[in-house]
Structure formats: C-alpha cells, structure tokens
Symmetry: C2
Subunit: 199 residues, 2 copies
C-alpha cells in the first residue's frame, strides 16, 4: 500500500482543525490564520487546498457529519448492539453531552452552530448542512422505527416525524446547554422527550 502524500496529511489536518475551531468559535469567529496556526502551515498554502473559506467550511461540515453518522452506526452495530433502540438513543445523547462537558461546553454540534450563524449566508454550506441533517434523520428514523416495533415509542406519530422532533429538540437543548454552562437542563429535556413525550 502506498503511503498517503504529505499534502493529503496537511489537508486532513486542516479539516480536523476546522471541525474543532469552527465548533468553538463559530464561522465569523474563526480566521483562516487560526486554522493554519493550529496545523503549523504557512498562510499562503491554504488556497492550494481550498478555493475559499466558504468551500473549506462546506467540506468541514460534510466531514463532520460523515464522521458523526459513522460513529453512531458503529455504536449501534457494536457496543450498543444488545441495547434496546431507546437505550441506544439514551446512551448516545448521554455520551455526547459528557463529551461537550469535557470541552467546558465550548464544543457542541457543528451542524447546529453553523446553521444558526451562517446557513443563510452561504448556499454551499447550507446544502451541506441539509445533506448532513438528512443523513442523521435517516439514522434516527431507523432507531425510532425499531423502538416503535419494540413497543418503546408511540405509534400515532410516524418514526420520521418523531426523528425530526428528536433532532430539533437536541439542537435546541444544545443552545440551552451553552447558555447554562451545565448539563442538567439539556439532559432533563432529552430524558423528558425520550421517556415521556415519545413514549
């Protein structure tokens, strides 16, 4: 197997730095220089990799959501295999909330952050955000459908509608999380949604 070229390494490092910096500082709060400094790359070389900041961010969003969906699917097929669909969803939100707490509430969901701040300023990024949300909706719809079959979730609402509601509540919960700088309000909201309103 041939080793990836050095330029591939740099490109990858830039995208990873982008995921981190954009999650924390937002679109307008993250300069290209900041990304390059993280990766220790001279300023001029950015445009060898990406046509513009906008194109870079669109790619960062795409990568972030691919990684996220892959992790979620990996959990369901692996460690979470023997959990019920509802327990899988609970484990996922609890794990994600702990991860956010570990970042001192700075790094939440890139999809929510970019949608809120700049989706209306870039068609390119907005298309990636929509595609990301669509892929995530498929994942959550499948889990909720399985939960409906197992009798864990109400059946008077379609799995797809519940999945949209679940994701919408999650994005809203992350906003209150950043505001409160603590987990409890978001955790309570997700538990109420999963255990009571969706039951």
């Amino acid at each position: 197997m041939s080793r990836p070229r050095r330029s591939e390494h740099i490109r990858e490092a830039l995208i990873q730095a982008g995921i981190e910096q954009l999650s924390i500082h937002g679109y307008h709060g993250t300069g290209i220089k900041q990304i390059l400094d993280e990766v220790n790359v001279p300023k001029g070389s950015f445009y060898n990799f990406f046509a513009s900041k906008e194109a870079f961010v669109a790619e960062v969003i795409a990568r972030y959501s691919q990684d996220l969906v892959q992790q979620l699917q990996g959990f369901v097929a692996g460690d979470g295999k023997h959990l019920s669909p509802k327990a899988q969803l609970q484990t996922i939100y609890e794990f994600t909330l702990s991860k956010i707490a570990n970042s001192e509430f700075k790094q939440a969901c890139l999809i929510g952050a970019m949608s809120s701040e700049m989706a209306n300023q870039s068609d390119l990024c907005r298309d990636q955000l929509k595609a990301a949300t669509k892929t995530l909706a498929v994942f959550f719809t499948e889990r909720i459908q399985a939960g409906q079959l197992a009798g864990e979730f109400r059946q008077d609402v379609t799995a797809s509608e519940l999945a949209n509601m679940y994701w919408t509540t999650w994005e809203g919960a992350l906003i209150t999380l950043k505001m409160h700088n603590r987990l409890k309000p978001a955790k309570d909201t997700m538990a109420l949604m999963l255990n009571v309103l969706m039951a």
Copy 2:
C-alpha cells in the same frame, strides 16, 4: 413633559440597530462600525454610550427580551384574550414564523443566535441570556398551566417542564428554519409539539 435628550435618541437607535444587525449577522459578523453606519453616528461616539461591544450586546439582549415578553403579554391581554391558551401559543408561533419569513429567514431569535454563537465567551451576555430565558419561561409556564386547567395539555408533566420543552423545541426549530430557508419544517415541528406531544 420634557423631551428626551438627543443622546437618548441616539442610544435608543443604536440598540435598535443592534437588535437587527446581531439577529442577522451574529456577534462576530457584526462590527461596531456597521451599527454606527446604520444610525449615522460617527465612530468615536460609540464609547460615550457603551463601555464595550460586549456591554452593548448584553444591553441589546436585555432590551430584545423585554420587548418580546411585553409583546407576548400584550397579545394575551389584548387581541388574544378570547383565545384558548393553546390557540394563543399557536397564534404566537405562527405570527413569529411569518415575521421571520418576511425577513427572508435572516432574522430569527436573538436569544438563540447569541446563545449558540457566543454565550460561552462572555459572562455578561450569558447572564442576560439566562435572565431572558427565565422571563420567557415564566410566560410560557403560565400559558401552559392555563392550558392544563382547560384540559388542552397533558397533566402528567409539570407546566414548567413542558414550557422548557416548548422553548427548547422552538429554538431548535429556528435552526432548521434557517437551514431550510422555508417555514414548513419549523411549523410542522411546532404543530406536532403543541397538538400531539403536549396534548
């Protein structure tokens, strides 16, 4: 009655421009120069009114939420007086969504936008965001409690918990609204919450 001084007019105009610009462009996307240009005020004078951009934004958040709660209370005591609590909540979200559509989905909720983008970067603003959310929670808890008494909402969850859920879903719905640049997904989510999950 003495007329308000000119400086009061300018201060007020700066705050109103702040509400608009920050809602559309976010914290980092809005420069002080931009605000001053809107109001036609020379750059140097900003700091006669506000100690810093941060102090200005904190005041903008406070004013935005005061105005919002006043409008909501005015509606419930006035035009919406003869509606049921559930119909009041429905009218409020439908009216607000139309207003956002009129701004071409650029101007949504300042509280959500600032919480998502910069609550973790400023204690001053975060305190105002928390205070705003608390006041709004009181309003929505009262409406939901009235709806519970009228048999419109489920009673196995407290009005306060439902109010938090309702607000969280609203903030999440505004994120999807900005992403989709259309009303339907947000409208569907709010209708499902109000008519089915909270019923």
